[in-house]
């Protein structure tokens, strides 16, 4: 019998195969002497037609049935070699064979269609499930968009991209499944039209049909959250240009997910806003006292100078002036730390990273401290590993961190033992920076508390606001590092922080070294 052939190849090939199967069945029946056993011949033909309908589809099966009916008539019904049929019984055999063949074929066809539909819907479900799962897993907008696009591209043979719509700024970027870029002018025009009319447009659509892509609005409850652009990978007929219902469903899912992320981002922004407000209030309450102290000194000393300046003895006048200067400086420092922390907490601290050398940052800290405290230079020492890699940091901010740590050590470790700044590279991933003092240290339960806002150590009557370490922690975190405090062995406090080594920075070129050697040889 004919081999079972998958429903593949062109329709013409399949029809020919159907006819050939019927012909083959005829030859086989002739060879087996089918003329003497019409019942089995008919069953043989029906079997062949059933096979054709299963393997090659309805049209081939009908063709096979017609061919079979003609061949049966011609070869097996007397008079042989003619299409004439003499008896009513032969007519019945001929017609019932043809009828059964057609019925079997259509039943088979219906089954096949159902299986096909089931397969399709299974694939749809799989794609949608994959999409929903990926969308639910995504935590950031860019993750979500790329994951969604990837699912779409694997579900249908299309290249897809999304132009997210940012409420205030319009279309700022275009996201592909493997990255992002700037939108082209054409994209912008189409996307803006789609977002304005909330209707699909582009290729295969009524509007903007000259565009190369099909643009779908991503509609969520708040309105359009973006525009999806789809381009089929294979050129197909115009009817197929419209995105499939699967893609449209996926687009709806995407829109909902985008809205979810937008909502959570807005919630976070609102939280930051509220937190900023909270900080502001806390600051106002707790700080007013600290700010008022230096202000009182300045006001009273300066008013004394204004009122009684010429009656004061010169050393007293100098003393008053010095007090004003010192307290003004202290006030300035307090305000600075307040501003810094508020900015940091509000997420408005700008981090300008560049390749910097920690050696220079430390040198700058040493210079500042030496100049300000006028202390003998031995009080502050630095131990820098010689193989320190350049790090990508904001030098101004990291210098601030170090200054805060050193200031803390200077003012709290009431000892003459030197304070040490040491820096070493740790296992190639981080640089470890430690500021060590050998003072009396702090209580174990305070080791983490000291990083809290406005926290002051037990018995601290210092002039700070308790913000220095909070600020340090924020700056270190914004660089992707960690900060923690440990007791110094033998007494005292060590505060350490890490800065990630983000990659190979610039190095002194060997060429230069060679040049130096050449010059030496000369």
């Amino acid at each position: 019998m004919a081999k079972r052939v998958r429903a593949r190849g062109g329709p013409a090939t399949r029809c020919l195969l159907g006819i050939a199967t019927a012909a083959a069945a005829t030859l086989l029946a002739l060879w087996l002497g089918g003329r003497h056993d019409l019942t089995n011949t008919v069953i043989g033909y029906l079997f062949a037609i059933a096979l054709v309908s299963m393997g090659l589809g309805y049209r081939s099966a009908v063709l096979a049935a017609v061919t079979s009916a003609l061949c049966f008539d011609y070869f097996f019904l007397p008079p042989y070699g003619s299409l004439n049929i003499n008896t009513g019984r032969d007519w019945a055999t001929e017609l019932s064979m043809f009828g059964v063949a057609v019925v079997v074929s259509s039943l088979n066809e219906r089954l096949r269609r159902q299986a096909c539909a089931a397969r399709l819907s299974e694939r749809r479900m799989e794609s949608l499930y994959g999409l929903v799962k990926d969308l639910a897993d995504a935590h950031s907008m860019s993750d979500l968009l790329t994951a969604g696009l990837r699912q779409m591209e694997s579900a249908a043979a299309v290249a897809a991209r999304i132009l997210p719509l940012d409420g205030k700024n319009g279309f700022r970027s275009v996201i592909f499944a493997d990255g992002q870029g700037d939108p082209t002018g054409d994209d912008l025009i189409s996307a803006t039209w789609v977002a304005d009319h909330l209707q699909p447009a582009g290729r295969g659509m009524r509007d903007l049909s000259e565009a190369e892509d099909c643009f779908l609005p991503l509609l969520a409850e708040r309105g359009c959250v973006g525009v999806l652009a789809i381009r089929p990978l294979e050129t197909t007929s115009d009817a197929d240009l419209r995105p499939s219902s699967l893609l449209q469903t996926m687009a709806r899912q995407m829109a909902m997910a985008i809205e979810r992320i937008l909502l959570s981002e807005e919630k976070r922004a609102a939280q930051i806003e509220a937190e900023t407000e909270q900080i502001r209030n806390a600051v106002l309450c707790s700080v007013s006292h600290d700010l008022r102290t230096p202000l009182t000194v300045i006001t009273s000393a300066s008013s004394t100078l204004v009122e009684h300046g010429n009656r004061l003895k010169s050393p007293v006048r100098a003393e008053m002036s010095r007090l004003i200067y010192e307290e003004a400086q202290r006030l300035g420092a307090l305000l600075k730390s307040l501003l810094d922390v508020t900015r940091l907490q509000a997420g408005r601290l700008r981090v300008n990273r560049d390749w910097e050398s920690l050696e220079e940052v430390v040198a700058s800290v040493l210079r500042h401290v030496d100049a300000r405290t006028g202390q003998a230079k031995w009080r502050l020492r630095s131990y820098l590993a010689s193989d320190l890699p350049p790090v990508e940091i904001d030098a101004v901010l990291i210098e601030q961190v170090l200054l805060n740590l050193v200031d803390n050590a200077l003012s709290h470790a009431k000892t003459d033992l030197p304070i040490e700044i040491s820096i070493s590279a740790q296992d190639g991933n981080d640089v470890l920076i430690a500021v060590t003092d050998h003072g009396q240290g702090i209580r174990d339960d305070e080791l983490t508390l000291i990083f809290d806002k406005f926290y002051r150590t037990h018995g601290d009557s210092g002039s700070g606001l308790g913000l220095g370490l909070t600020l340090a922690q924020g700056i270190v975190a914004s660089h992707g590092g960690k900060i923690w405090a440990t007791p110094t062995p033998g007494g005292g406090l060590t505060v350490q922080f890490t800065l990630p080594i983000t990659g190979a920075g610039p190095t002194n070129l060997e060429e230069e070294a060679l040049e130096g050697e050449r010059a030496r040889a000369r």
């Binding site: 300008n352 050398s357 050696e359 040493l366 920075g505 230069e512």
Partner: protein
């Protein structure tokens, strides 16, 4: 017009202006003032001051935009004064031709020191370009492209020399990292600030007795470098 050195203060806050003028007049400077950009340009044209002290926060015009305008009128040294929030503007002002900067709040001795440096650099304007520059124990020969410590030559690579020479042409003034990059590497390398740090490190190893506390090659965080010529 008197023979005294004149300082133009461009500052919109009257009280700050009063304090500065009082301190400067005590030191023997003649103070000319301007409270906005328009006046500043006018004063530069008519009074020809020896130093300009320019506040970046002015009412009528962005102080930053004023730097190139003033530069087009005069070669007088400009010291920009900025609040801490304007750190980025500071770099731009220096790149636009300002000679130095001061961050508010600053003390009067600081101000006087910067004015002295600026005046020294004004004294050089117009005179022949210097061929040698001395700082500390060192003598930099700009023509022979050599560096001497007392009488011993110190070997520098080409890039190290260019960096040092760029700093030395403006002694005690801050030179921004991007200026150093432009002078030593050319304008195509503006994004490679890390290289300046690397070469400055090797330069410091050769010149400084204690590279951890450099005396001459001083880093100004976020801005650039300064070659300190005094001990």
């Amino acid at each position: 017009m008197t023979g005294a050195t004149s300082v133009l203060i461009v500052e919109d806050d009257y009280k700050i202006l009063r304090v500065f003028s009082a301190s400067l007049e005590v030191e023997g400077y003649r103070v000319v003032d301007a409270s906005n950009g328009q006046q500043a340009i006018e004063q530069v044209r008519t009074q020809n001051p020896d130093v300009i002290l320019l506040d970046l926060g002015l009412p009528d015009i962005d102080g930053l935009a004023l730097v190139p305008t003033l530069r087009s009128h005069t070669a007088t040294p400009i010291i920009v004064v900025s609040a801490r929030e304007q750190d980025a503007d500071k770099v731009k002002a220096l790149d636009a031709g300002a000679n130095d900067y001061l961050t508010k709040p600053f003390s009067v001795p600081e101000l006087l020191a910067r004015i002295r440096v600026a005046l020294r650099s004004r004294a050089q304007v117009g005179s022949l370009p210097r061929t040698t520059i001395s700082f500390g124990d060192y003598r930099l020969d700009l023509v022979g492209r050599r560096l001497w410590r007392h009488d011993r030559p110190i070997l520098l690579t080409a890039t190290e020399f260019k960096l040092l020479a760029t700093l030395a042409r403006r002694p005690d003034e801050v030179v921004t990292t991007s200026t150093l990059l432009r002078e030593a590497w050319g304008s195509a390398h503006q994004s490679k600030k890390g290289y300046v740090r690397v070469y400055m490190h090797s330069l410091r190893q050769k010149l400084e007795t204690d590279p951890a506390r450099p005396r001459h090659l001083v880093n100004e965080s976020g801005l650039g470098y300064r070659l300190c010529t005094s001990q």
